[in-house]
Protein backbone atom coordinates (compact mmCIF):
# COMPACT_ATOMS: atom_id res chain seq x y z
CA UNK A 1 0.00 0.00 0.00
CA UNK A 2 1.53 3.34 -1.02
CA UNK A 3 2.23 6.03 1.56
CA UNK A 4 -0.28 8.82 2.08
CA UNK A 5 1.01 12.39 2.25
CA UNK A 6 0.20 12.49 5.98
CA UNK A 7 2.22 9.32 6.62
CA UNK A 8 5.09 10.63 4.51
CA UNK A 9 5.14 13.86 6.54
CA UNK A 10 4.94 12.07 9.89
CA UNK A 11 7.91 9.90 8.96
CA UNK A 12 9.80 12.89 7.57
CA UNK A 13 9.24 14.74 10.87
CA UNK A 14 10.57 11.81 12.91
CA UNK A 15 13.66 11.43 10.72
CA UNK A 16 14.23 15.20 10.73
CA UNK A 17 14.38 15.13 14.55
CA UNK A 18 16.61 12.03 14.67
CA UNK A 19 19.27 13.10 12.17
CA UNK A 20 20.74 16.04 14.17
CA UNK A 21 20.30 14.03 17.41
CA UNK A 22 22.61 11.38 15.96
CA UNK A 23 25.02 14.12 14.88
CA UNK A 24 25.05 15.47 18.43
CA UNK A 25 25.55 12.00 19.94
CA UNK A 26 28.48 11.42 17.56
CA UNK A 27 30.01 14.76 18.63
CA UNK A 28 29.49 14.15 22.38
CA UNK A 29 30.91 10.59 22.28
CA UNK A 30 33.53 11.00 19.57
CA UNK A 31 36.46 9.90 21.74
CA UNK A 32 34.65 6.77 22.92
CA UNK A 33 33.78 5.63 19.39
CA UNK A 34 35.95 3.55 17.09
CA UNK A 35 36.32 4.36 13.37
CA UNK A 36 33.61 1.92 12.29
CA UNK A 37 31.11 3.33 14.79
CA UNK A 38 31.97 6.90 13.78
CA UNK A 39 31.41 6.11 10.09
CA UNK A 40 28.20 4.27 10.89
CA UNK A 41 26.81 7.28 12.79
CA UNK A 42 27.92 9.72 10.10
CA UNK A 43 26.17 7.66 7.41
CA UNK A 44 23.08 7.27 9.55
CA UNK A 45 22.91 11.01 10.19
CA UNK A 46 22.94 11.66 6.42
CA UNK A 47 20.62 8.78 5.52
CA UNK A 48 17.95 9.99 7.94
CA UNK A 49 18.22 13.55 6.66
CA UNK A 50 18.08 12.38 3.03
CA UNK A 51 15.16 10.00 3.62
CA UNK A 52 13.23 12.77 5.41
CA UNK A 53 13.79 15.07 2.43
CA UNK A 54 12.73 12.39 -0.05
CA UNK A 55 9.56 11.83 1.99
CA UNK A 56 8.86 15.58 2.05
CA UNK A 57 9.20 15.69 -1.74
CA UNK A 58 6.82 12.72 -2.08
CA UNK A 59 4.30 14.42 0.24
CA UNK A 60 4.57 17.58 -1.88
CA UNK A 61 4.05 15.64 -5.12
CA UNK A 62 0.99 13.88 -3.65
CA UNK A 63 -0.44 17.21 -2.43
CA UNK A 64 -0.10 18.76 -5.87
CA UNK A 65 -1.39 15.67 -7.68
CA UNK A 66 -4.59 15.82 -5.63
CA UNK A 67 -5.53 19.09 -7.35
CA UNK A 68 -5.16 17.83 -10.91
CA UNK A 69 -8.90 18.32 -11.58
CA UNK A 70 -8.63 21.96 -10.48
CA UNK A 71 -5.83 22.47 -12.99
CA UNK A 72 -8.15 21.23 -15.75
CA UNK A 73 -11.00 23.51 -14.57
CA UNK A 74 -8.81 26.60 -14.57
CA UNK A 75 -7.22 25.74 -17.91
CA UNK A 76 -10.70 25.49 -19.48
CA UNK A 77 -11.70 28.82 -17.91
CA UNK A 78 -8.57 30.51 -19.25
CA UNK A 79 -9.41 29.20 -22.74
CA UNK A 80 -12.93 30.72 -22.45
CA UNK A 81 -11.48 34.07 -21.42
CA UNK A 82 -8.99 33.99 -24.28
CA UNK A 83 -11.82 33.23 -26.71
CA UNK A 84 -13.68 36.35 -25.56
CA UNK A 85 -10.56 38.51 -25.79
CA UNK A 86 -9.90 37.18 -29.29
CA UNK A 87 -13.46 38.07 -30.37
CA UNK A 88 -13.06 41.64 -29.12
CA UNK A 89 -9.68 41.87 -30.86
CA UNK A 90 -11.35 40.71 -34.09
CA UNK A 91 -13.98 43.47 -33.80
CA UNK A 92 -11.21 46.02 -33.25
CA UNK A 93 -9.33 44.64 -36.22
CA UNK A 94 -12.52 44.96 -38.28
CA UNK A 95 -12.74 48.64 -37.37
CA UNK A 96 -9.11 48.98 -38.41
CA UNK A 97 -10.06 47.57 -41.82
CA UNK A 98 -12.91 50.09 -42.17
CA UNK A 99 -10.41 52.84 -41.33
CA UNK A 100 -8.06 51.44 -43.95
CA UNK A 101 -10.80 51.46 -46.59
CA UNK A 102 -11.60 55.12 -45.86
CA UNK A 103 -7.90 55.98 -45.91
CA UNK A 104 -7.58 54.27 -49.26
CA UNK A 105 -10.60 56.21 -50.54
CA UNK A 106 -9.00 59.45 -49.36
CA UNK A 107 -5.75 58.50 -51.10
CA UNK A 108 -7.60 57.67 -54.35
CA UNK A 109 -9.16 61.13 -54.30
CA UNK A 110 -5.71 62.74 -54.12
CA UNK A 111 -4.80 60.84 -57.34
CA UNK A 112 -1.29 60.31 -56.05
CA UNK A 113 -0.08 56.82 -56.96
CA UNK A 114 2.44 56.70 -54.08
CA UNK A 115 -0.18 57.53 -51.46
CA UNK A 116 -2.63 55.03 -52.98
CA UNK A 117 0.02 52.31 -52.96
CA UNK A 118 0.93 53.08 -49.33
CA UNK A 119 -2.70 52.83 -48.19
CA UNK A 120 -3.20 49.67 -50.21
CA UNK A 121 -0.22 48.09 -48.48
CA UNK A 122 -1.52 49.11 -45.04
CA UNK A 123 -4.95 47.69 -45.85
CA UNK A 124 -3.40 44.45 -47.08
CA UNK A 125 -1.54 44.14 -43.77
CA UNK A 126 -4.76 44.66 -41.80
CA UNK A 127 -6.68 42.07 -43.79
CA UNK A 128 -3.90 39.48 -43.65
Amino acid sequence: MPLTKQEARQLADIFTEFSPAIGKYKYDHWEELNDTERKLLMDLEYDLSETASQLSAVAGILTLEEVEASVTDLTTAVADAEKFLKKVATVKKGLGIVTGVFQLAAAVMTKEPKAILKELKSLKKLIA
Partner: protein
Protein backbone atom coordinates in the same frame (compact mmCIF):
# COMPACT_ATOMS: atom_id res chain seq x y z
CA UNK B 1 -25.24 65.37 -49.69
CA UNK B 2 -23.32 62.69 -47.91
CA UNK B 3 -23.78 64.39 -44.58
CA UNK B 4 -27.54 64.87 -44.90
CA UNK B 5 -28.15 61.29 -45.97
CA UNK B 6 -25.79 59.97 -43.25
CA UNK B 7 -27.60 61.96 -40.53
CA UNK B 8 -30.97 60.54 -41.51
CA UNK B 9 -30.06 56.97 -42.34
CA UNK B 10 -27.40 56.00 -39.84
CA UNK B 11 -26.53 58.65 -37.28
CA UNK B 12 -30.04 59.25 -35.90
CA UNK B 13 -30.84 55.58 -35.20
CA UNK B 14 -27.34 55.14 -33.77
CA UNK B 15 -27.76 58.10 -31.44
CA UNK B 16 -31.19 56.82 -30.42
CA UNK B 17 -29.71 53.39 -29.74
CA UNK B 18 -26.93 54.97 -27.66
CA UNK B 19 -29.45 56.89 -25.56
CA UNK B 20 -31.63 53.80 -25.01
CA UNK B 21 -28.61 51.62 -24.21
CA UNK B 22 -27.36 54.18 -21.69
CA UNK B 23 -30.75 54.30 -19.99
CA UNK B 24 -31.12 50.53 -19.89
CA UNK B 25 -27.73 49.56 -18.62
CA UNK B 26 -24.74 51.27 -17.06
CA UNK B 27 -21.31 50.06 -18.08
CA UNK B 28 -19.86 48.14 -15.16
CA UNK B 29 -16.58 49.34 -13.81
CA UNK B 30 -14.72 46.18 -12.97
CA UNK B 31 -11.53 48.02 -12.00
CA UNK B 32 -11.56 46.52 -8.48
CA UNK B 33 -11.71 43.00 -9.92
CA UNK B 34 -9.01 43.82 -12.47
CA UNK B 35 -6.68 45.33 -9.85
CA UNK B 36 -7.10 42.41 -7.45
CA UNK B 37 -6.52 39.84 -10.22
CA UNK B 38 -3.46 41.76 -11.51
CA UNK B 39 -1.96 41.89 -8.04
CA UNK B 40 -2.72 38.20 -7.51
CA UNK B 41 -1.11 37.38 -10.86
CA UNK B 42 2.03 39.32 -10.06
CA UNK B 43 2.30 37.79 -6.61
CA UNK B 44 1.59 34.20 -7.56
CA UNK B 45 4.29 34.33 -10.22
CA UNK B 46 7.01 34.50 -7.53
CA UNK B 47 9.52 32.09 -9.00
CA UNK B 48 12.22 31.58 -6.37
CA UNK B 49 10.71 28.57 -4.58
CA UNK B 50 10.43 26.00 -7.44
CA UNK B 51 14.17 25.82 -8.23
CA UNK B 52 14.94 25.78 -4.53
CA UNK B 53 12.81 22.66 -4.02
CA UNK B 54 15.79 21.00 -5.71
CA UNK B 55 18.45 23.52 -4.65
CA UNK B 56 18.03 23.16 -0.88
CA UNK B 57 18.57 19.41 -1.19
CA UNK B 58 21.61 19.75 -3.42
CA UNK B 59 23.16 22.15 -0.86
CA UNK B 60 22.31 19.83 2.04
CA UNK B 61 23.85 16.85 0.27
CA UNK B 62 26.97 18.93 -0.40
CA UNK B 63 27.16 19.91 3.29
CA UNK B 64 27.26 16.20 4.14
CA UNK B 65 29.95 15.76 1.51
CA UNK B 66 27.74 13.49 -0.59
CA UNK B 67 27.83 13.23 -4.31
CA UNK B 68 24.67 14.45 -6.02
CA UNK B 69 23.23 11.82 -8.35
CA UNK B 70 20.36 12.06 -10.81
CA UNK B 71 18.67 9.18 -9.01
CA UNK B 72 18.42 10.90 -5.65
CA UNK B 73 17.33 14.17 -7.26
CA UNK B 74 14.42 12.59 -9.18
CA UNK B 75 11.73 13.22 -6.53
CA UNK B 76 12.94 16.75 -5.88
CA UNK B 77 12.78 17.54 -9.58
CA UNK B 78 9.29 16.06 -9.86
CA UNK B 79 8.15 18.14 -6.90
CA UNK B 80 9.52 21.24 -8.63
CA UNK B 81 7.79 20.41 -11.95
CA UNK B 82 4.44 19.87 -10.23
CA UNK B 83 4.82 23.10 -8.28
CA UNK B 84 5.71 25.11 -11.39
CA UNK B 85 2.80 23.62 -13.37
CA UNK B 86 0.23 24.47 -10.69
CA UNK B 87 1.68 27.90 -10.10
CA UNK B 88 1.57 28.67 -13.85
CA UNK B 89 -2.12 27.76 -13.96
CA UNK B 90 -2.95 30.24 -11.16
CA UNK B 91 -0.86 32.93 -12.88
CA UNK B 92 -2.62 32.35 -16.22
CA UNK B 93 -6.07 32.36 -14.65
CA UNK B 94 -5.48 35.58 -12.72
CA UNK B 95 -4.01 37.17 -15.86
CA UNK B 96 -7.04 36.17 -17.93
CA UNK B 97 -9.44 37.45 -15.25
CA UNK B 98 -7.57 40.77 -15.06
CA UNK B 99 -7.59 41.10 -18.85
CA UNK B 100 -11.34 40.48 -19.15
CA UNK B 101 -12.10 42.80 -16.22
CA UNK B 102 -10.02 45.59 -17.77
CA UNK B 103 -12.40 48.29 -19.05
CA UNK B 104 -9.98 49.09 -21.87
CA UNK B 105 -10.80 45.72 -23.46
CA UNK B 106 -14.26 46.96 -24.40
CA UNK B 107 -13.25 50.50 -25.23
CA UNK B 108 -13.42 51.01 -28.99
CA UNK B 109 -12.92 54.78 -28.84
CA UNK B 110 -9.49 54.85 -30.45
CA UNK B 111 -10.53 52.46 -33.22
CA UNK B 112 -13.74 54.41 -33.92
CA UNK B 113 -11.94 57.75 -33.77
CA UNK B 114 -9.61 56.37 -36.44
CA UNK B 115 -12.61 55.34 -38.56
CA UNK B 116 -14.19 58.79 -38.08
CA UNK B 117 -10.92 60.55 -38.91
CA UNK B 118 -10.45 58.50 -42.06
CA UNK B 119 -14.10 59.00 -43.09
CA UNK B 120 -13.67 62.78 -42.71
CA UNK B 121 -10.49 62.69 -44.76
CA UNK B 122 -12.24 60.65 -47.45
CA UNK B 123 -14.99 63.28 -47.47
CA UNK B 124 -17.63 60.75 -46.52
CA UNK B 125 -18.57 62.68 -43.34
CA UNK B 126 -17.99 66.17 -42.02
CA UNK B 127 -15.96 66.41 -38.83
CA UNK B 128 -18.89 67.11 -36.49
CA UNK B 129 -20.88 64.11 -37.71
CA UNK B 130 -17.81 61.90 -37.66
CA UNK B 131 -17.06 62.75 -34.02
CA UNK B 132 -20.67 62.23 -33.03
CA UNK B 133 -20.70 58.92 -34.89
CA UNK B 134 -17.49 57.78 -33.13
CA UNK B 135 -18.82 58.64 -29.67
CA UNK B 136 -22.25 57.09 -30.21
CA UNK B 137 -20.84 53.96 -31.87
CA UNK B 138 -18.31 53.53 -29.05
CA UNK B 139 -21.07 53.79 -26.47
CA UNK B 140 -23.25 51.24 -28.26
CA UNK B 141 -20.36 48.85 -28.92
CA UNK B 142 -19.02 49.16 -25.37
CA UNK B 143 -22.41 48.53 -23.79
CA UNK B 144 -23.07 45.63 -26.15
CA UNK B 145 -19.78 43.95 -25.27
CA UNK B 146 -19.97 44.84 -21.59
CA UNK B 147 -22.94 42.54 -21.02
CA UNK B 148 -20.99 39.57 -22.37
CA UNK B 149 -17.94 40.62 -20.39
CA UNK B 150 -19.78 40.91 -17.06
CA UNK B 151 -21.39 37.54 -17.67
CA UNK B 152 -17.99 36.04 -18.42
CA UNK B 153 -16.36 37.55 -15.30
CA UNK B 154 -19.20 36.21 -13.12
CA UNK B 155 -19.00 32.84 -14.80
CA UNK B 156 -15.21 32.65 -14.42
CA UNK B 157 -15.25 33.66 -10.76
CA UNK B 158 -18.08 31.34 -9.65
CA UNK B 159 -17.01 28.39 -11.78
CA UNK B 160 -13.35 28.67 -10.82
CA UNK B 161 -13.57 29.53 -7.15
CA UNK B 162 -13.40 25.91 -5.89
CA UNK B 163 -10.39 25.26 -8.13
CA UNK B 164 -8.66 28.48 -7.02
CA UNK B 165 -9.25 27.55 -3.38
CA UNK B 166 -7.82 24.05 -3.86
CA UNK B 167 -4.80 25.14 -5.88
CA UNK B 168 -3.75 28.03 -3.66
CA UNK B 169 -4.23 25.83 -0.57
CA UNK B 170 -2.18 22.98 -2.07
CA UNK B 171 0.68 25.29 -3.04
CA UNK B 172 0.68 26.94 0.41
CA UNK B 173 0.51 23.53 2.08
CA UNK B 174 3.56 22.14 0.31
CA UNK B 175 5.51 25.34 0.98
CA UNK B 176 4.74 25.18 4.72
CA UNK B 177 4.82 21.44 5.24
CA UNK B 178 7.53 20.33 2.87
CA UNK B 179 9.75 23.17 1.63
CA UNK B 180 10.19 24.91 4.99
CA UNK B 181 11.15 21.59 6.58
CA UNK B 182 13.71 21.00 3.84
CA UNK B 183 15.23 24.38 4.74
CA UNK B 184 15.33 23.27 8.37
CA UNK B 185 17.28 20.13 7.39
CA UNK B 186 19.66 22.30 5.39
CA UNK B 187 20.20 24.42 8.53
CA UNK B 188 20.78 21.23 10.58
CA UNK B 189 23.37 20.07 8.05
CA UNK B 190 25.14 23.42 8.42
CA UNK B 191 25.34 22.89 12.20
CA UNK B 192 26.73 19.41 11.52
CA UNK B 193 29.48 20.89 9.37
CA UNK B 194 30.66 23.04 12.30
CA UNK B 195 30.62 20.04 14.67
CA UNK B 196 32.59 17.92 12.21
CA UNK B 197 35.13 20.73 11.76
CA UNK B 198 35.56 20.92 15.54
CA UNK B 199 36.10 17.16 15.74
CA UNK B 200 38.96 17.50 13.26
CA UNK B 201 40.72 19.62 15.96
CA UNK B 202 41.87 22.18 13.42
CA UNK B 203 41.20 25.74 14.70
CA UNK B 204 41.45 27.23 11.20
CA UNK B 205 38.92 24.76 9.83
CA UNK B 206 36.56 25.41 12.75
CA UNK B 207 36.73 29.16 12.17
CA UNK B 208 36.07 28.69 8.45
CA UNK B 209 33.10 26.42 9.19
CA UNK B 210 31.66 29.00 11.62
CA UNK B 211 32.10 31.76 9.09
CA UNK B 212 30.32 29.65 6.46
CA UNK B 213 27.58 28.84 8.97
CA UNK B 214 27.06 32.52 9.76
CA UNK B 215 26.57 33.36 6.09
CA UNK B 216 24.52 30.29 5.31
CA UNK B 217 22.18 30.65 8.29
CA UNK B 218 21.32 34.21 7.23
CA UNK B 219 20.57 33.02 3.68
CA UNK B 220 18.35 30.20 4.94
CA UNK B 221 16.52 32.60 7.29
CA UNK B 222 15.82 34.97 4.36
CA UNK B 223 14.53 32.09 2.21
CA UNK B 224 12.33 30.94 5.09
CA UNK B 225 10.86 34.42 5.55
CA UNK B 226 10.09 34.77 1.82
CA UNK B 227 8.50 31.32 1.71
CA UNK B 228 6.32 32.06 4.75
CA UNK B 229 5.19 35.35 3.16
CA UNK B 230 4.45 33.56 -0.12
CA UNK B 231 2.36 30.89 1.62
CA UNK B 232 0.44 33.60 3.47
CA UNK B 233 -0.07 35.50 0.21
CA UNK B 234 -1.51 32.39 -1.46
CA UNK B 235 -4.02 32.22 1.39
CA UNK B 236 -4.95 35.88 0.83
CA UNK B 237 -5.39 35.26 -2.91
CA UNK B 238 -7.77 32.42 -2.08
CA UNK B 239 -9.66 34.58 0.43
CA UNK B 240 -9.91 37.51 -1.99
CA UNK B 241 -11.19 35.26 -4.75
CA UNK B 242 -13.77 33.72 -2.40
CA UNK B 243 -14.93 37.27 -1.62
CA UNK B 244 -15.33 37.89 -5.38
CA UNK B 245 -17.42 34.73 -5.70
CA UNK B 246 -19.58 35.74 -2.72
CA UNK B 247 -20.32 39.19 -4.19
CA UNK B 248 -20.82 38.00 -7.72
CA UNK B 249 -23.98 40.05 -8.20
CA UNK B 250 -22.53 43.33 -7.04
CA UNK B 251 -18.98 44.04 -8.14
CA UNK B 252 -19.53 47.78 -7.97
CA UNK B 253 -20.79 48.06 -4.36
CA UNK B 254 -18.61 50.48 -2.41
CA UNK B 255 -18.05 48.20 0.59
CA UNK B 256 -17.07 45.32 -1.66
CA UNK B 257 -14.56 47.45 -3.58
CA UNK B 258 -13.08 48.63 -0.26
CA UNK B 259 -12.76 45.03 0.97
CA UNK B 260 -11.11 43.93 -2.24
CA UNK B 261 -8.74 46.89 -2.06
CA UNK B 262 -7.88 45.74 1.47
CA UNK B 263 -6.82 42.33 0.16
CA UNK B 264 -4.83 44.01 -2.57
CA UNK B 265 -2.98 46.16 -0.01
CA UNK B 266 -2.22 43.10 2.12
CA UNK B 267 -0.89 41.30 -0.96
CA UNK B 268 1.33 44.28 -1.77
CA UNK B 269 2.72 44.29 1.78
CA UNK B 270 3.45 40.55 1.57
CA UNK B 271 5.07 40.90 -1.82
CA UNK B 272 7.50 43.40 -0.33
CA UNK B 273 8.74 40.58 1.91
CA UNK B 274 9.68 38.35 -1.01
CA UNK B 275 13.36 38.15 -1.76
CA UNK B 276 14.60 37.27 -5.21
Amino acid sequence: MHTKSFRSTLLRPLLLLAVVATLLSGCANLAAVRDFASQAKSLSSYNVIPPDLVGTNVRRQALFGKEVTEENLANYKRHREHFEDRQAVIVKYMGALAAVADNEVINYKKNLDDVAGAATKADVLDKGDADLFASAANLVATLATDGARRKLVRDLVTRCDPAVQKLTAALAETVREDYLKSLRREADATDGLVRDADLAKNPGLSRLARYAMFEHTATIAARKKSAEAFAEALGKIGAGHAKLAAHIGDFTRKEFIAELKGYQDELKALQAQFKN
